[in-house]
């Protein structure tokens, strides 16, 4: 209602919000019409608006409040000031989880990027044969939940029974300790995550690759460019905005990974592969240190915002 006098600014794609000119009705109907341009969109976004307030604003507000208390989920929430944050910065477990999360993200983002772009490129290539079936196969991992995907790769990389160790032994090697070595265990998670992430990102890339004007390729072909040059000089710059989105979403996704680890090694061996979300889940729910876990949540949120901000800045600089 506040907005009822402000006429929507006519922008090129959006001339529809102006009332139809040829119809002249009484002033009363026009006011009602104009009100409906405010009330209808408000009604239309109401569901998401309420959900946003309930499940983003409210938790963010109480989370921030509790992060300055030693709340345990029941009873009173004694304020402790910055104690939680101070403890967090001296908590070796927290640092270990954070570092491991960065290592994981730094590995899984490039592998996902290369795999999904590669598959998308092949799937729109006019040369590859049997694309419909291949596309269906590439899509199967997307249907499989992170928990089941974790089980599948754990099964393949089993130390005493897995297919991979069986083949290694068959070839004359020694069984590799996939479960008891933290780094090897992380590699399995990276493989599993890349496998699972490919399909959806491939879909995003496919849409972008289809929109690259074919005239560019034809011109390059006349100039004698080879396939790699065409990919490097035409395709990559043309899909740069999409690449940015894929990298951003994959990074954010990797920073909050938990189910895959839950299924593959449960953050083990020991706590060596505990990522930040698992750390928050453990302190918040198993140990009921809600105040402390909220503080950790806000540190994670802060890190995600910084990552998103840095990537946005890089993207903007490249564009200009």
């Amino acid at each position: 209602m506040v907005d009822s006098d402000q006429r929507p600014r006519p922008s090129p794609g959006d001339s529809a919000d102006r009332p139809p000119e040829p119809i002249r009705r009484g002033p009363f109907t026009r006011v009602r019409r104009r009100n409906s341009y405010v009330l209808t969109p408000l009604l239309l976004i109401s569901a998401n608006l309420i959900l946003f307030a309930l499940f983003f604003i409210w938790p963010a507000a109480i989370g921030l409040y509790y992060s300055f208390t030693s709340y345990t989920g029941v009873g009173s929430a004694p304020p402790v000031g910055l104690q939680n944050y101070q403890n967090l910065f001296h908590d070796a477990d927290f640092y270990a989880a954070l570092l491991r999360t960065f290592v994981y993200a730094a590995c899984v983002v490039p592998t996902t990027f290369v795999a999904s772009l590669g598959v998308a490129y092949l799937l729109i290539s006019p040369y590859a044969k049997g694309k419909p079936l291949a596309r269906t196969i590439f899509f199967v991992p997307w249907l499989i939940s992170p928990i089941i995907a974790g089980v599948i790769w754990r099964w393949i990389f089993g130390e005493n029974f897995g297919l991979v160790n069986f083949i290694i032994i068959k070839l004359g090697g020694d069984a590799v300790p996939w479960q008891s070595n933290a780094n090897l265990s992380l590699i399995i998670v990276i493989i599993a995550a890349t496998w699972g992430n490919t399909a959806f990102n491939m879909l995003i890339f496919t849409a972008a690759l289809k929109n690259v004007p074919t005239a560019y390729y034809e011109a390059a072909e006349l100039d004698g460019a080879n396939a790699w040059q065409k990919f490097r000089r035409i395709t990559l710059p043309a899909i740069a905005p999409t690449s940015f989105i894929v990298i951003l979403l994959t990074t954010l996704g990797a920073m909050k990974e938990y189910p895959l680890f839950r299924a593959i090694n449960d953050g083990g061996p020991g706590t060596e592969n505990n990522l930040i979300v698992q750390y928050i889940y453990k302190t918040g729910f198993r140990n009921a240190h809600i105040g402390y876990a909220s503080a950790a949540s806000f540190v994670l949120m802060f890190i995600l915002m910084i990552i998103a901000g840095i990537q946005l800045m890089i993207n903007r600089r490249r564009e200009s």
């Binding site: 907005d3 929507p8 794609g13 959006d14 001339s15 009332p19 139809p20 409906s36 209808t40 969109p41 009604l43 239309l44 976004i45 569901a47 998401n48 608006l49 959900l51 946003f52 499940f55 983003f56 409210w58 938790p59 989370g63 989920g73 092949l122 290539s125 006019p126 040369y127 590859a128 049997g130 291949a134 269906t136 196969i137 590439f138 899509f139 249907l143 499989i144 939940s145 928990i147 089941i148 089980v151 790769w153 099964w155 297919l163 069986f166 496998w195 490919t198 959806f200 849409a207 972008a208 999409t242 989105i245 979403l249 938990y258 189910p259 839950r262 928050i280 889940y281 949540s297 915002m305």
Partner: protein, 292 residues
């Protein structure tokens, strides 16, 4: 108006057909693609084939690709030793309810963002984008407290309701409605339809392909969700499939025969749905709200 379902014209085809010089390229591209397809398809295939082996054969070297004796004992054991039917039902309720609500909420907001213009709608767009940057995992503990204070703890509704709002869904609809000509809207206004009726009677039916795409994506998300149901559900009667399967993995000694059976069972509904509706996923122009 079923623009989104139809395949875009394949612009490159005329150039390639009938040229013999393309043969090496065809062989090269096809073989790389199929090599990758095998790499991507094999783990799931190996897993499903393993689930058909008798428990005793699972760990005996040499491993064979095909089971020597086919058996469904893993499946029957999984089904009987856990409350699997209940898990299935719970997951189905969660996924279906969340999907329907997601489509309604996303279609309505997406339409509002595409066809109306005001400062608060622009502000709301930023709020929606913020939900992708700051996903539920970062607010896990306070979100749990909110659910508890709303009285939704340990109920399936507590799993469904926070999951309804999604930036991907909202932007999929926004992108689609931007492409619907405004003439259609103005025509309906001249004919005297109310704004809401235009949305419900004209715009919503047009968006059917988008609805189906989002339906599959949303159903997949909710079917495969793990962390949020784990936080909200405490009573084993309310457990979803993912929690059920994860509890088998978490056991001291993993019973692989049961685990394989349970895992494969939990995947079947999604694979079936996907195979039926795959064109709606494959042809989806998902660009995560990137271009106008």
């Amino acid at each position: 108006m079923t623009v989104a379902t139809r395949k875009p014209p394949e612009l490159r085809r005329p150039r390639t057909s009938g040229k013999t010089g393309d043969l090496p390229r065809k062989v090269f591209s096809s073989s790389i693609m199929w090599l990758l397809a095998v790499v991507y398809g094999f783990p799931a295939l190996w897993f499903v084939l393993s689930s058909l082996k008798p428990a005793g054969d699972l760990f005996t070297y040499p491993l064979t690709l095909l089971p020597k004796h086919f058996t469904f004992s893993g499946y029957t054991q999984a089904w009987s030793s856990f409350n699997f039917a209940q898990y299935f039902l719970n997951t189905l309720i969660v996924a279906t309810a969340a999907t329907l609500l997601t489509i309604l909420a996303s279609a309505a907001s997406g339409y509002a963002l595409a066809k109306y213009n005001s400062w608060w709608l622009k502000g709301f767009t930023i709020c929606i984008i913020a939900t992708t940057m700051l996903p539920g995992e970062t607010l896990l503990t306070p979100l749990f407290l909110v659910i508890r204070d709303l009285g939704l703890y340990n109920s399936l509704a507590g799993v469904v309701v926070p999951a309804v709002i999604t930036a991907t869904g909202t932007f999929m609809f926004r992108q689609f409605f931007v492409t619907v000509p405004n003439d259609l809207l103005e025509q309906a206004r001249i004919d005297g339809s109310s704004e809401l009726a235009i949305f419900l009677r004209i715009m919503l039916p047009l968006a059917r392909p988008i609805m189906l795409t989002l339906a599959i994506i949303s159903f997949q998300w909710r079917w495969n969700d793990y962390l949020w149901p784990l936080v909200i559900l405490n009573d084993p009667h309310q457990f979803t499939l993912q929690i059920g399967v994860a509890s088998i993995v978490g056991a001291q000694n993993v019973n692989w025969s049961v685990l394989l059976g349970a895992s494969v069972l939990s995947m079947i509904p999604l694979v079936a749905i996907y195979l039926i509706f795959q064109k709606y996923v494959m042809n989806a122009d998902i660009n995560a709200g990137l271009k106008d």
